[in-house]
């Protein structure tokens, strides 16, 4: 496949580009859904094609084609350059690219059990079984599903990169919904989006969906009669690791995307409250807060060998001892920001999408507390987990999140279950109230398979190492 990528790059250079790269990508996706004990859909998707990126002046041009032939690749390269030339008609400062070592390499993630080789009947039996169990234990609507992705890509650049990668990912999810007279309640497992990773089917087996199906159905029904989360202007809040993954994703991950900070996403996804002049000095959170973006974590959903610009995966410090120290970047954004090198965080969603800054595995390094210790140390507060709703402003500052379930904590003990828990805050003020951090035994690499960004829209797969955390003085119980 390299020959097509090389042909596209050569054609783009021949048409006037000063830099070009091309990715040939072959992606397989399989998903199955079950509802109330019946398989409701099995979908297998395949796509194959080439996307080429050309740089002229201040603007990129990108063209994608599903035709894999040398002629089509050359035509695509020329079209990309032509589009880049149109970009230059509304010019900015010439874009530069930070240097990166030119590599010829091959990489693939470790997979124990190839997820596409597991028999469909076995996968279907799993989903049918757990949805039946949930129904038997009180769910009005029981859903379960899995996804598998198998992606191979070949990158060639005008600087000499020749890198092929095969990345296999999979994961699963299930949820129980119960309907009361005036409301519906839901419990999901292992989280609202399930759990995903760059692993084989062993990940799904380890989730033990059958062992959790009855519990979540019963909890959903119990929520119908549980008391509402009380409205309080300030309380101690313990957040489970699944919801913490969402908290990190929304209020840290997106906020430190360099393209947002530079204003490249201003009209759509938004900007960031962070100002580059403050990097290295700004207090983002308490001293317990250490966040890294690390695409080398084995099995995490945001892991790879190289990003889509050929930058090798490597860990990047984002917040160190509570101080903001790093960003998620690519070669062009890093150069514009005056950084020495790319953070290796550029990926495209399929052959036909322009690679852009995406989260890798952005997450918390673990601390020293267990969840039980956090509860025992809390006189009056609440414990919540499993994301239900999420909303945050265009600067990634003001958030309001809701969870599926919560529990009162009184005098160091977990008390009554509560429903509809919500909390709201301002990013840095909230993170500075972090005073207890889960330990390594609670460290989970949550995977988010549906991070939306860009125009045309792209879906990113991101990872979020996370632990339970305690925050002080948080406003909870916001209602309409």
């Amino acid at each position: 496949m390299f020959e097509y990528a090389e042909a596209a790059v050569e054609a783009a250079l021949g048409a006037g580009a000063r830099y070009a790269d091309a990715r040939v990508m072959d992606r397989r996706h399989e998903s199955m859904n079950a509802r109330n004990g019946e398989i409701e859909g099995l979908t297998q998707e395949g796509s194959e094609g080439l996307g080429v990126r050309a740089l002229i002046g201040s603007g990129w041009g990108f063209f994608a084609t599903a035709d894999l032939s040398t002629d089509a690749a050359r035509a695509a390269g020329a079209r990309a350059a032509s589009i880049a030339r149109a970009s230059a008609s509304v010019p900015g400062k010439d874009l530069e690219l930070t240097p990166v070592e030119v590599r010829q390499d091959s990489w693939q993630n470790a997979v124990g059990e190839d997820p596409l080789s597991v028999p469909l009947a076995e996968k279907g039996d799993l989903l049918v079984g757990v949805t039946r169990t949930m129904r038997e234990h009180g769910a009005d609507v029981a859903l379960a599903g899995y996804d598998v992705w198998d992606t191979t890509k070949w990158l060639a650049s005008s600087e000499g990169h020749r890198i092929d990668q095969r990345i296999r990912e999979c994961g699963a999810r299930m949820e129980s919904t119960v309907n009361g007279e005036t409301e519906s309640q839901r419990r999901s497992y292992p989280g609202i989006r399930g759990q995903y990773g760059t692993r084989g089917w062993e990940l799904v087996r380890e989730l033990d969906l059958p062992g959790n199906a009855a519990r979540i159905a019963e909890e959903a029904r119990e929520l119908l009669t549980a008391p509402e989360c009380e409205s309080r202007d300030a309380t101690d809040l313990i957040i489970g690791s699944e919801q913490m993954a969402l908290q990190i994703h929304e209020s840290v991950g997106h906020a430190v995307e360099l393209d947002r900070i530079l204003g490249w996403e201003a009209a759509f996804a938004g900007t960031s409250w962070l100002d580059l002049s403050q990097i290295g000095d700004l207090r983002f959170g308490s001293e317990l807060m250490n966040i890294t973006a690390d695409a080398t974590l084995p099995g995490a959903l945001g892991s790879f060998g190289y990003d889509d610009e050929g930058t090798p995966a490597h860990p990047v410090d984002i917040v160190k001892d509570g101080i903001w120290v790093g960003v998620l970047s690519g070669r062009d954004s890093a150069a514009l920001a005056g950084l020495d090198s790319s953070g290796g965080a550029v990926r495209g969603d399929g052959y036909n999408r322009l690679p852009m800054v995406r989260m890798t595995n952005v997450g918390l390094l673990p601390g020293t507390s267990s969840l039980d210790e956090m509860i025992a140390a809390t006189d009056d507060g609440i414990l919540i987990d499993t994301n239900r709703s999420w909303s945050i402003d265009d600067k990634r500052l003001n958030f309001q999140f809701g969870c599926e379930i919560g529990w009162e904590i009184k005098n160091g003990r977990r008390g009554r279950m509560i429903k509809n828990p919500t909390y709201t805050g301002i990013g840095p003020k909230f993170w500075q109230s972090l005073d207890m951090l889960g330990n390594r035994s609670e460290w989970t690499f949550w995977g988010t398979p549906n991070c939306g960004k860009g125009q045309p829209g792209q879906i990113g797969h991101t990872g979020h190492p996370s632990v339970p955390c305690r925050f002080r003085g948080v406003r909870v119980g916001v209602r309409g």
């Binding site: 859904n33 094609g49 201040s58 990129w60 599903a66 589009i83 201003a266 003001n398």
Partner: protein, 446 residues
């Protein structure tokens, strides 16, 4: 691919399936292009010659579907073989509703040759005009063009062919302390005036500079069309959706006056401003469907599965790959009123004029409580006049109650096509709205 090639590809796939299974095939092809600008220059500019073949088969009630973007003989044979093999391994699907019967589709051709063939220079011209109109303010946004043709065929004898173009220009101007937005959409790129859109975004940005905080609480609001589309999108996904009703998650109760008597909402691909094609992913023809008539919930949207489950007929709203989400309307139209938008503002005693909503998420589908924020310009209106810009606010509001009986103070006479509805699926035609109460629960600063 030409129309003939699309239909021929459908027939090739059906021939490969043979007579042992029920089968439906959709083949789509076209060009999607988008020019993005930020910090007043074009920084991303993309185009994609896209195509896809979607096949769904039912083998004695055992169902599987697959999509691929290759159309050579070998690839189509592989697609059919793997889909048939997958179906054979499935249990019988008791909810399988069978294929759409042959039926004519409405005569709709929302197509413009120039838009389908638009070169990047044509989009760049509009971006340049927007940037010039910003007159020194930083500008950001996009201009897109799209032309897609779709053919459908099933083994029950249904055949359908459709094509649609669309063009959008959407941008903000930025003062450093405030943003202002404006947008335009049409099936014709020629309808998009970059200078006019840029000038309105710039006016809003300048008029919302030096915004000050406002105490949260309940306020009257005049919502711009983009906010109205957001409200309708939630009602569509969580309310009028046959799947949500079947599962007991929806507020919708047919025959009840759940909305203000001034509200009439229809799904109507035949509307003169609409974009899209006249049949759905299952080949069922679309028709004008009134979901709310003069405040009374009157219909739901269905695909064939939910129609079967609820004893109804498909309304032509099946969406490929929607999965558990169910059927969705792609062409909602909120009937306009007689009041020009500026008169809606003049009729507000004390309330807020809102340009855009942002990051809206459902908290409770049964009561339709949604949280989100304002964006790109909010102004306090007192005694019918804009008094001052205010900083962004968070709201936590039931969209159903907001449009409920006696809650709608006025409906604008304006009609605006807004693309990207229902989280990116469809384009709605809506007016501005004056509502009696909106619950703002916090300032953007906390």
């Amino acid at each position: 691919m030409t129309a003939d090639e699309l239909l021929t590809t459908c027939e090739r796939v059906l021939a490969l399936v043979g007579t042992d299974a029920e089968a439906e095939v959709t083949v789509g092809a076209g060009t999607e292009a988008l020019t993005r600008f930020a910090t007043s220059f074009i920084h991303q500019n993309v185009a994609d010659d896209a195509r896809a073949v979607h096949l769904r088969v039912a083998l004695d009630g055992r169902v599987a579907e697959a999509t691929d973007n290759r159309t050579d003989d070998e690839a189509l044979s592989r697609l059919v073989r793997s889909t048939m093999e997958a179906a054979a391994l499935q249990p019988v699907d008791p909810g399988w509703p069978g294929l759409a019967p042959p039926a004519p589709t409405p005569s709709v051709d929302h197509w413009d040759d120039d838009t389908a063939a638009a070169e990047p220079d044509a989009r760049a011209e509009r971006v340049a005009a927007f940037v010039r109109a910003a007159n020194g303010l930083e500008a950001a946004g996009f201009c897109s063009t799209e032309g897609v043709s779709t053919a459908f065929a099933n083994s029950a004898g249904q055949r359908a062919m459709g094509r649609t173009t669309s063009a959008m220009l959407d941008g903000i101007a930025r003062t450093g302390t405030s943003d202002g937005a404006d947008r335009a959409a049409s099936r014709r790129l020629a309808d998009l005036d970059g200078a006019a859109v840029g000038a309105e975004a710039t006016r809003r940005a300048r008029d919302s500079a030096a915004a000050t905080d406002l105490e949260p609480g309940r306020y009257e609001v005049v919502l711009s069309p983009s906010c109205v589309v957001n409200v309708l999108s939630f009602l569509a996904i969580y309310g009028f959706n046959g799947r949500a009703v079947e599962e007991g998650r929806s507020f919708a109760r047919l025959g009840e006056g759940q909305f203000d008597a001034s509200v009439t909402i229809a799904d109507d691909v035949t509307h003169p401003m609409a974009v899209g094609i006249a049949f759905d992913a299952e080949g069922t023809p679309k028709r004008r469907l009134e979901l709310v008539r003069e405040g009374v919930t009157s219909s739901l949207v269905h695909d064939r599965r939910t129609a079967k489950a609820l004893g109804a007929e498909s309304t032509g709203n099946a969406v490929a790959g929607a999965g558990p989400l169910g059927a969705l309307p792609a062409n909602l139209v909120l009937e306009p009123g007689a009041t020009p938008p500026d008169k809606l503002v003049a009729g507000m005693e004390r309330g807020l004029l809102v340009t855009d909503f942002w990051y809206t998420r459902i908290l409770d589908p049964r009561t339709m409580v949604v949280t989100g924020l304002t964006r790109n310009g909010v102004w306090l209106v007192e005694d019918g006049r804009v008094a001052r810009p205010v900083t962004n606010l968070r709201f936590t509001q039931s969209y159903l109650e907001a449009l409920g009986p006696a809650q709608v103070r006025g409906i604008g006479s304006d009609q605006t096509l807004v693309g990207g509805a229902t989280f990116g699926f469809g384009a709605y035609v809506v007016p501005s709205l004056h509502l009696g109460s909106w619950n703002f629960t916090g300032g953007a600063k906390g």
